[in-house]
Symmetry: D2
């Protein structure tokens, strides 16, 4: 931690800060300039993060140089985490494609989509049973019936299934049907849910919040790992910026940065990020080229009748074309499909 004192802070103010640091069990090192004094603080992560020195007289700014997370970092675990579920893998060179409809709407819609994405090479099946919708008047998902259909589709196709936990009270129920539990962007900092999922035995797919920094995403993952669950997959799905041509702005530099900062697998979701079907393929390619371990893609047998996210959903044919389009990208750097061998 660095404590930067205001210009010409008094000796008394500096001494006061130093005393408080010593009381808390941290070491203080002074750099004393004509205009400014800066204090280098050395100590334990938990001590550092429990100190709130910004409120002290004479303090201009406090900069924490120790990261607010530990278990998720490459420093803590240099080798890639590989998450394997029902034989499908992600991480450590294994590439996953999670495909399926935004929302589960009927048995036929789901089954036909599931079979189509399986045929084209998807490694997991996605589908929403509980949908977070801005307006209370929009379709909210099929609920548990949707979960049941999803599990059935997983059984038939042999694909592991991913679905969102929207309510912490439903976590156990969802885990009864799904192989991977998704935390949506709006719940990335629902810390109570993160803690609950940290105690569970299912891999977690954690989506980046619309205005969450890379550090906040990693800190959210830290909550889950701290609870004991080491199988976390991170997902970049676009951040909110001033640009309105796309629904959000896909931040692929975040994918590349995450691959350096953490050992956890990282995927991208170009469907939600762009909100436009015709940008999904180029962004899938770009995501893989930036180092992503996988993709999440919305596919619907009949996008124009989709009850949500039609404009960004691929048809089964479009998905088949996508899969052959990304084929050369999957094999960059010696990577391979994360399929059961």
């Amino acid at each position: 931690m660095l404590v930067i004192m205001r210009d010409h802070a008094s000796k008394q103010e500096v001494d006061h800060v130093v005393t408080r640091l010593h009381e808390a069990g941290a070491e203080a090192h002074l750099s004393d300039g004509e205009v400014k004094t800066i204090i280098g603080v050395i100590g334990d992560r938990e001590v550092i993060y429990s100190l709130d020195m910004e409120g002290m007289p004479g303090v201009e700014q406090v900069i924490r140089v120790l990261k607010p997370y530990k278990l998720v970092s490459r420093d803590f675990q240099p080798e890639d985490t590989v998450v394997t579920v029902k034989g499908s893998s992600i991480g450590g060179g294994a590439i996953a494609v999670m495909a399926g409809p935004c929302s589960i709407e009927s048995e036929e819609q789901l089954m036909r989509t599931a079979e189509a994405v399986k045929a084209s090479g998807a490694t997991m099946l996605r589908g929403g049973a509980y949908k977070p919708r801005t307006s209370p008047y929009a379709f909210q998902g099929m609920g548990e019936e949707g979960l049941r259909l999803l599990a059935e589709a997983g059984r038939v196709t042999g694909l592991p299934v991913v679905t969102e936990v929207l309510d912490v009270r439903d976590a156990e129920k969802v885990a009864g049907y799904a192989d991977v539990l998704q935390v949506g962007a709006r719940n990335m900092q629902n810390f109570m849910m993160l803690e609950e999922l940290g105690k569970m035995q299912r891999p977690i797919l954690l989506k980046r919040g619309l205005s969450a920094t890379i550090e906040e995403l990693l800190s959210a993952a830290e909550y889950i790992l701290k609870g004991g669950n080491r199988d976390v997959i991170l997902c970049e799905r676009g951040i909110r910026t001033f640009e309105t041509y796309t629904r959000n702005t896909l931040d692929l530099a975040a994918v590349a940065a995450l691959k350096q900062l953490t050992h956890l697998p990282v995927i991208a979701d170009p469907s939600h990020a762009t909100g436009r079907r015709d940008l999904v393929a180029p962004m899938c390619r770009a995501a893989l080229a930036s180092g992503a371990d996988g993709l999440m893609v919305e596919v619907h047998i009949d996008p124009e009748h989709a009850r949500c996210d039609g404009p960004q959903s691929l048809t089964p044919d479009g998905f088949a074309r996508l899969m052959s389009d990304i084929e050369p990208l999957v094999h960059l750097d010696g990577n391979r499909w994360g399929l059961p061998s």
Copy 2:
């Protein structure tokens, strides 16, 4: 709703859209230009919001001109909602100041702060028992013991108390101690929690999410009103932008806009928005001048030992000065303190 067709969309594509609209029970009106066709759609809000036409062939863009909310709008209820709790009011010209510590840390800290803010004229007492923290290594609040202390401080001072519900499973418990239930910025789109709070008998203080639009804030409030709870107070607490000098960017035009769009009371929280003690007073003044019905202000008897948000907390003396500083602003437009008469 407006459906804007791509340049030179075919007659077939246009007809197809029109047919789908008719099937759904909506009316379609065509404007046919040389380059573009646009289709005006007239229909019921729920129908309009359940249609996802963007996925259809030839469609460039769909613009919803009916708002995604209804019960919260001024059109639905022109007169101001006034929320009254234990005799204190907010809305309809009654100005509230909710003051207290970011987190409840001890009986002494809370009691002394509560008495100080009461003495200076605060109309409600705030204090956090469950704290959402970015890092799992930071102080997470005192939990139920904090709630107990808060209720006691409310009893002693006669002030209604406000505190955050962090976990939907705790809503009933928190309601057992608190007069107003706060939904934090990170939970603004925790729709399950909004639905739960919609069924309760306590006023809700709903904070705007860090990257939530005005329309999304109103839609979130709509979830609560739709559930039957009409006592919602909105709170602008800063949005996330590129500017890092302040913690967030206080969007006071949103306060003024909300006062036009909705009948619900609107307050501002300059402490969280700016993150800087020395900007709290000017922003409190500005918020009232922009039309806010109240303020939320962090006060701590000893900010430099605060376990969270020290840098933005006022001392009791600072709060007393603030209260006299804002006095002329409170009485603009014939407004008055929302105190029991």
Copy 3:
């Protein structure tokens, strides 16, 4: 400056940084932790800002704690700069209102507007002769003929006139007609223009760029002061964020922060910031309450026929109401109208 080394940087890397600092004439102070070494650097502002240590091996981050500006700061000049032109003042408690049309469209339009705003108490007249327009197909202003009309309107009403310099090559020409030269948001970092204006004898109204930080705005002003021109007025006119309800987001905390950081006068432009006529009055009030030294307001005799910015322009009657609406705010803190006595 602080140099933060990567975790476990080698002694060699640290020594190398220290050597480079010494060579450059700066002092280095080490804080050596188990995980991290941080180096405090003390030296001259120009030396510090010419060093680019981020490129060195083992360096994680470089933080400049000396501000990149000097002449504009309160540390350099504690007392308020007061800019006076033709007897009208701004700064040091004198409040200015610059009103007039977005663009000058005809003699009649300008004259009638000028007389109306003068009658309601405006202290300066604004009007654009050269208009920066996103589309090359939009109206670009009347050019020099507009300048001539503006000067004439200034003469008739006795009001000082403000207008934008859009092209550095026109600076002298514009200065031949106008009392205050405006740098638009898009040119805030047109450093060549700033340098040119720094050599001129006219007060400069410098608008904050749409994505400029407070520090960048102050650094842009520093360019002008460094050239010798001390009469700079800063203007907050909204920043670009994800919120689209308003045209931009008026950042009033920036106004309050600027009043602390610099001695230069600071105004707000709620017309451009909000883009909505009905938000102009509340935001004018809020700006004054936040500490602004003045306002810029668009007024048009016939907004619905305005060739630009009609939706945010007030009618002369609307402006008269605004002026009485803000009257109590002008006199806060013992301030006064910046009118010739």
Copy 4:
């Protein structure tokens, strides 16, 4: 254009809008709902963009569906523009890599860098002679002497050279030395400069502004094409968002979108976008995968002594590795290096 009337706007208000439209020579088509009337407007682009209907009574919102640009659009010219200079090409499947130092610092620094990037396969040489710097105390570039060195380095290596025009008054001078003229992000909406460059005979490299939308970038390019200069290359170089881990946020979906919307070549500049050397290679790969026609990369023989942008500059060795790293990406979709055959 669509004019959306306020809820329950009066018949008089609607008629008034229609009359104004007819006067201006546009056609109006009404869609009349119970709550809302919307008016579809058909007419000429220039007429549409000169109308400012938002200011009219009863009007809620005006949506322009005709794009504000024409010459740059794929509708106007479906086939790719190929820019060729000294035998090097970009666009239409020809991939360019423009490499070199951020700023030209000395003959030796530039020559050695130029020879190194040429040896590794760069197709153009970049280097700044005039540097836009936030602080007036930072290094501002070598000026005309830098231009002279750049031209010399171009001659020796046979590479076309690219450099920034910072001041419209220098455009002719810079064109005397450089093959491609760059407009920096801060000048993207310096319309006077765009108009001047539209009259010149040199290809223009137009960088996206830090907070410019895709539509604004295209409109800026339209200024140049409207002046008669058809050789414009667009460059995505990162937009400003809340994320601070990277210097800016590289918006690769904008690259993919631009490739659909315009026939002009589009490149990406991962050096400026990320500000971090270790993210340059993954983002170069991702940019090509997203459809970019080229890259701009900063290379310095001695990054730690660079006078600007050291942290993001590659060494010659790093650049050589990058070039082999991107090789498979260059040849996607049948593309090829834009080298003289």
